[in-house]
Symmetry: D3
Subunit: 340 residues, 6 copies
């Protein structure tokens, strides 16, 4: 996979409106506003880790769209190629869970500028000039027909240009249902254009129409084997496993497989009490891309990705704001006490 050239992330940027503390939505008259979106989260994380990351998206030409672009720029993402278009800003309302009450996401993204953009809004050939890596996710494909088409066009153009393609399955049933999209077929097509996939046995089962019994490494290994068989360009597959003892107490471990039979895993890391679980998968993806781009060895790459994901759970908002030194510090076991 390529270690040179800019990393391009393509997807929708959302404003997140969260109830403060562990309140129900609008229990008190205040919402906390942060920004997110699967690919934007990856872009921010990569920029914070020191990479040149560019975001491609479509935003409304209003105060909300501009604020979203500003926030990505704040964290070092290249926002010079963001487009504006008709439509509203995509939002999601977030009710953080606690104890045994699960968190809830209420999407309010219908009619967004991103969803309303035509599939050919972006000329991928020119946009990928200077790029070495393209990252997209299944959320983009799930937003609607046009963005599903755009995601496929992006992956095809990247493939054609020798740009590495990473793809995070991120299956969101409610989004697919909203426009009756054929999730498995579309995700499969993007997978067939990818070099690296973030997904576990459940994702592969859904896409290939198969099933992989069990939990942990075994079904993931089987699913990886099946995916490598089905998709000749695919070279790596990575995922996390999340065991949830309570809403804010999880154990997280990481797995990675390559086409040559390589398999790596990490011990489970207990995370409690979690500050903010949103974006954990995106932080993992960014951490893994970091390891591959930096040429870390495979085990270190996976460990770095898991540590990045773990850190995300301690940071409010969707973005993993940790820097390379923060991740290294966790990896080197510098201790958990106050650093002075």
């Amino acid at each position: 996979m390529r270690q040179d050239g800019r990393i391009v992330c393509f997807g929708e940027i959302l404003i997140r409106l969260s109830a403060p503390g562990a309140e129900f939505l609008l229990q008190t008259p205040r919402l906390e506003t942060t920004f997110g979106g699967a690919e934007a989260n990856v872009a921010v994380s990569l920029a914070r880790l020191g990479h040149e990351a560019r975001m491609l998206s479509v935003l409304p030409d209003n105060a909300l769209g501009r604020a979203a672009a500003d926030e990505l720029r704040r964290y070092g993402v290249d926002t010079s190629r963001l487009r504006t278009g008709p439509g509203r800003m995509g939002l999601y309302f977030f009710t953080p869970g606690a104890v045994r009450r699960a968190s809830e996401v209420l999407y309010d993204r219908a009619g967004s500028a991103f969803a309303s953009a035509p599939a050919d809004a972006i000329d991928w050939t020119s946009e990928l000039e200077g790029a070495g890596w393209l990252h997209i996710s299944g959320v983009t494909a799930a937003v609607g027909q046009a963005s599903a088409d755009a995601a496929r066009a992006a992956a095809r153009a990247a493939r054609a240009a020798g740009v590495t393609v990473s793809f995070d399955c991120n299956y969101r049933p409610s989004l697919w249902a909203a426009w009756d999209g054929d999730g498995p077929a579309i995700l499969g097509e993007i997978l067939s254009l990818s070099d690296l996939v973030f997904g576990d046995h459940r994702d592969i089962a859904l896409i290939l129409g198969r099933s992989f019994a069990g939990e942990g490494e075994a079904p993931r290994a089987a699913a990886a084997e099946a995916a490598f068989a089905a998709y000749p360009t695919l070279r790596r597959m990575a995922s996390t496993r999340r065991i949830q003892h309570s809403v804010n107490h999880h154990d997280l471990s990481g797995f990675m497989f390559d086409r040559d039979g390589g398999a790596w895993s990490t011990p489970a890391l207990p995370l409690t009490p979690i500050v903010d679980r949103i974006g954990g998968g995106d932080a993992f993806a960014a951490g893994l891309i970091h390891g591959l781009r930096r040429g870390l060895d495979d085990q270190r790459t996976l460990a770095f990705a898991l540590a990045a994901a773990a850190l995300k759970h301690s940071i409010p908002g969707d973005f993993n704001l940790a820097r390379e030194a923060d991740v290294e510090s966790l990896l080197s076991d510098g201790g958990l006490d106050v650093r002075r």
Copy 2:
């Protein structure tokens, strides 16, 4: 006009998301959430003034829609007949102005449950049972074809049932433009079914395709004369005049005319520094309805309405939370010092 029977208000309920202080939208990561909507504001104000007020609207069946209904119920509005339907919650983002920077409203109400409801979603004959008064506004008509039709159907049904109809012109060009609605024609049709209209010479000029030169009482009187001539059922017309010295320093006065040539006005009330100007017109409308329902004399009715509007400018949010005693206290000139 009828002083018996419930007051029914029909219109869209919105969540307002405001930047705190005098910040730009999302300058800091927090929004203050209140609720509004022209007719909901009138309903809350009437309930606080001691009237039986019922809100008719369509909300999404989700946490946001339920929170909106809860907030109206909190202030004593009868929410038992609110409906739910497909679509999202109508929002508006508010950037409060200051000094010489005007406040800005960014509507985000496209695709709302209210706008998506069919014109015949409400059976007006049965909904108006027990009602003595119907209040609607030009905002409802401006939301889209279906709600424009619904507004007209409501007014027609009320007229047929002997229910007094009050109508606030509330002309919002950006909403009419969004669906290319013929504002003047539709507003005129509703006006032709009304007993009481809230509007000034600019509203009447727009609807009748005429113009009334000047400022203050004279053009308002001329417009009232024209309106009474054009609309035989119309019996009263009332409006405020707002002179703005700066964003938060206004002078407010009130005017009322009746079909028999009666004309009333109030001295201008200086308001500075204004806390929240939104909902001032709705507070005036509710105050005037209060006076008419309670049988106050005409001058007192207008003075009560203006005092209610003035109080609204001292209260955060869209709702005028003042109670009858608060308005009376302002009217009786109880003084401006601390009450202990």
Copy 3:
């Protein structure tokens, strides 16, 4: 027990003034204000679960009393029969605990309008018209002689009218001590008029002047047997067991017994880290009443009650704002991960 008719709750409504975060009281210059009171908590919870719940209480005729009524109405409680009377608003100051520092309640309710109301302020015969259920608690009896008399009068009137009576012992030594009330005797008298009691072996031991050794199900079963023997109208007895590992880490389980020897219990549910423990017992009571009113089977009824209590621990304030779907979701083990 009756499944028809309105549920009437009688007791004092309090404003809670809480230190934010884990601060000592007034460590920083801000208090968070919510509302509570054992019976009000039950009323809100029942209204949120879809029941017709009416609150009977006495409030001061000032801004605080009105705010308390507004908040109950917000959540769907019927507040149309709340009375006002001389006296102040009952308050309690709350210092939330943490780690190994216990939470503290500082009652400031002496001289409240509720405590000052005469015992015959409410004509129970007329107030219970249309009612199917009356819920009261030992807190009401403990406020003072007049409210102890009122609580007994309410229970007697309900008994006479065929209205089911549920009673939560809620023994509060500091309140009884303040007026030297004979807690055991008065609680026993109310118990003798009840169909359902919320209490454990410690409550029954206190009331009957006996003791039941041990922890868990055995002493609760013995106490239930004794209570059924002593109080012929009593048909069910339910309680929770709370094992506290730290201030914010508890295990909670539920127990229910009936006069026919039926005994039900639930596994212990670990709750950590708890957001707000206040109102857990009231949420349990409301959940159990919900199950009985809806005709759920006994085990399901108890499980629902425990799940409702568990959810309360994740919600700031005294009120369990969970809706039926929230409780069902916990019961059906829909998982602890983010719901999108």
Copy 4:
């Protein structure tokens, strides 16, 4: 008047619970907590101005009482002689006004430890050792019979010990009404023991049962003449005049008279927009005492007092936290621009 010895202030300390911004009480679920009380305000202001000020009061022995004492100590008041006693903490709820809506104080001080203390709780002879000045106000006298008696005993003891007595009339009708106290008689008795009185013609009219027509200096001069005639020990009388253009725009001027016919006044100082008007009179009293204790000339003393009062209007809370340099800076007209 004495310039040596400690200044002793005697009165009730209250916690103030304020709605934030310009909200109605409990419009949002938060109250801001500060501390106040007429005499405590004077004590804090004097301590900030560099004087040795001791507070005498009775507080409950709980977290609230201790927090009140801590806050006074924070600002340099000597709290070593505060007592505790049975009863609750005195509170007042504050709804800040705006525009044309007056601020409102809702007292909740019935049954406080201060009000419940017996009249002889304090041995004034020993408490006044080392004191050169005693300051009390009409609020203390108005709290109830016991504190009215205590206030008189304090003034008598001070008189006997050659300690200068200053008295702020601070007439609060609602407090006197609550226990049917004879305000004019009691205030008159304290006045007859005072050296310096803070009050205007309305206060003297009330106490002497006379009337002084007009506004401004003339009626104040006439009232002073009458007071000096009626009370032989009285040597000075001072007051402010407050003209209110709106709730937060006042003009404030100061007046002082002495027994020898001396009369001083200041130009009116426009104050807009006022941040917090509470405690303005107490700041004036402290400023005047400061001038007298420091031996400033009469005009300077009055100007200092008025500047101190003016500064108070720019500071949130009851306390005037300004230091001597802050007042001097306003007096010396150092300009209104940012100081860097």
Copy 5:
């Protein structure tokens, strides 16, 4: 003056720590954090107005320095050439004034990375490649000998490279006093290298050792004449006049002169109540540079600058976040009412 090429701003970036509301510093346990510095303010304002603005400065390599850079990048400033160096982050504590209490700045910038940087830390020849404009201010010169030298070196290099130099006198006595710097001489030397100076007759008087009597346009015109005579490269001089009625009520007008005898002024704009006065001069400078770069006519340029400065007074923080459309809207007198 050049309209092409990047605008480079050179100066210290500071974190501002402000007391909230109108509180004294640390009156409550919270500080609001924003960012500022005279040249950073100009850079942000220019970026918001659509210009390519680059900031040159030296920051500590820690979380504070990085946050400062992030915030500038957020608003579109090119931060790619910011340096890091030993030393701390420059801070200033801000106590906002109110009513008649002036605001206070407490600088805490001794030992900052900027102040500690050697005078030749920046190779101006290479840094000015691609630049068309350099903006510096007297604050930079006042920080210490090294930064005074750096400021002069920057101006010399710009002059040599044909880069337009604008200079804001910004005389800060407390900074010059701290290192005993010869302010007039150093400011004069920079002035001798400038094309455009922001300053009034007081600045020129100080630098030239002369005096210009009076207020308003006349002394400014005389000072401009003197400056043009003394400094042959100087082509324009601009300033505002600020009349302060109270701490938050000012009248602001603008003046501009050119070497050819051109003189422009604006009417005074009343500003009340001001939200945040800091950065008003920097907003004026940026607005004027905007007009000159865009080729607006002279009167329009000055009007634009004054409108930009006026808008700044309505925005919390040091930065003028207004965009070109906001300024145009104020200029075109679009009215002060809510924009929907």
Copy 6:
């Protein structure tokens, strides 16, 4: 050790500026401000536990320095002998950790008034009049040469005057490195003047240049033996052991040894989730001094100290605000449930 006489604490007082929640520093534009410093923490804790504690330090004569003194006075510390001097206020920025991300302290104390004070700024002979105990810590010694000298002078003077000396090693490598101070030598010298040392085997190893293998009681016992051998005046040594399962889940136990071979330890107390870990060691020190001053038996003294330290972990800020009754309540195992 002496149980009479005032306790004097000598060291630097710092303002702590903390990111709210679990945010990164300046992630959102707000910092929470509290006060701290190792010796100030001990002084506050002792004052809250009922002891006469006086703070000796040097503060800048500005709003920040005064606020620091005010806060100590608020909690009952005698601040009458604090000095002011040239230099800035010492600050530290705090990024609270979470989950597996360690907390971080960013010191910003270079050039503080305390660090800038000459070694002989304080005349120890007169300052120790009336004192029975002196407490200092290794932080004071680490600030710079002058404060190291001052710490030694203080200890010597105390020794000479028969004042008990307690010393907390508090080794901070980053502070020593900043001025190249010989930490082991200087700490050793102070130790040679102490009666009681707070430190574990790592501290003694560093100071004596030895090593003590293992964890828990054994190496602490060996280190104590070595310390008693090396320092003849030393009579007791105490420390905590902290096992960290995650950033906010620790097990804490206490150890104490005396010169006569006495050894005491406590069971480990699990602390989770920790609210604020800063100041835990200072709370332990204060608790131990409390036990010794009150003459508690040795085991009780150690248990009290550990309970005090445990409580500190539940309190926001550096100060242990627990009072004696709070500690006793934890010790007596009054239970973890809400106290009403």
